[in-house]
Symmetry: C4
Amino acid sequence: MNKAIGETNWVIPDGYIPPESSGSLLSHESICVLNCSAEDATLTISIYFEDRDPLSNITYVVPGQRTKHIRTSSLERDGEHIPTGVPYAIYIESDIPVVVQYSRLDSTQAENALMSTMGYPVRQA
Amino acid sequence: MNKAIGETNWVIPDGYIPPESSGSLLSHESICVLNCSAEDATLTISIYFEDRDPLSNITYVVPGQRTKHIRTSSLERDGEHIPTGVPYAIYIESDIPVVVQYSRLDSTQAENALMSTMGYPVRQA
Amino acid sequence: MNKAIGETNWVIPDGYIPPESSGSLLSHESICVLNCSAEDATLTISIYFEDRDPLSNITYVVPGQRTKHIRTSSLERDGEHIPTGVPYAIYIESDIPVVVQYSRLDSTQAENALMSTMGYPVRQA
Amino acid sequence: MNKAIGETNWVIPDGYIPPESSGSLLSHESICVLNCSAEDATLTISIYFEDRDPLSNITYVVPGQRTKHIRTSSLERDGEHIPTGVPYAIYIESDIPVVVQYSRLDSTQAENALMSTMGYPVRQA
């Protein structure tokens, strides 16, 4: 199995990096991408906010036949990161089909809470 | 990227505003909407109950190129809100395509619990 | 809005009724159904197990313009219920289109844990 | 109802076996499969990693008219298992249509956390 599978455009409306952690696990979000193809997938990520213009053109490469579980806190463009404690949304465009899932671990209140959903695949008109 | 993407009609069958909170985080639900278009998206929201007629025609505007994470407790029509502690369902109609995700934080029992799912996109016949 | 929307056949592979509860909330699962039509929707539910034949033909009515958040522990046929502590799967057939979401609250370990997902809509060939 | 329903190819990008447990429940993941057909479904599972080649051709049989909630820690090929504490992704190919959901229970921090999502069904071109 080394064909590209999935879709090229994915949306995750509920982005949020919890500003606090406690206990042994760090609060974080992950964008989990599977690239089944033999070639690299180059992602172009845009971050949408509630009250300002998007932060666009963040790039990230997922090698062929690999998965990457990308911490959203690690994404940056020209030194700008996604702020913590702020509601935002994620748009991902890949140059080849991939599959995207989103998960969040929140350890604000000592014990951890988890949520996960597949990204929403945008089918091109 | 400033075209409208997604769908215009979305359903979330499992709505519930937890009546109690404890610890540092407030129990709440969010309807997270991404509007990638350059224009405003006007949402018309209907709330369905187990034992009475729907509360319809709640409106909410998501500006162009913005996301809104809408607390369901903030929705109202003529002063009427969604009651807490009552199972309900959500129907969202938007005048242009958007993407909708639903998340709930429940902090009834001291530590927080999270759940999330994409809305169900209704494809028009 | 009073047309029937959604699909008639839905699957939830991960059913499980936690056998224990602690704290103020009871461990439970809900099948959350929205019936936007003006007519009743009659559901026919089948329960599949790991090691025995299915429990079929459980019926449940969701009135028109209503949602029902059905506790799986309340489902029965001829006095037979879904056992607790046993992995199972759910197949729902409705006579008119509806939308189905599945959620579980687990309070085995004092604090509550939540999970939710849309059902899987089976498109008829 | 004993026809095969669902899809033959499913993806779960966010695989992770938590290395630690505490309290009364064991941290684990499950791949929950429903086979509505009268015949066996033979699954061929591939595991993708962040930094090495995939572990392919793990097989698993789900009997007809049964569900299996497969612990990922139980999967093996030639004695090789999925390591704990490592991000990975799952690709499932079935010889007949099935429906796949993924759930994780994390009990690292004393209380349990749950997440669940339907698998991503790959529609064949």
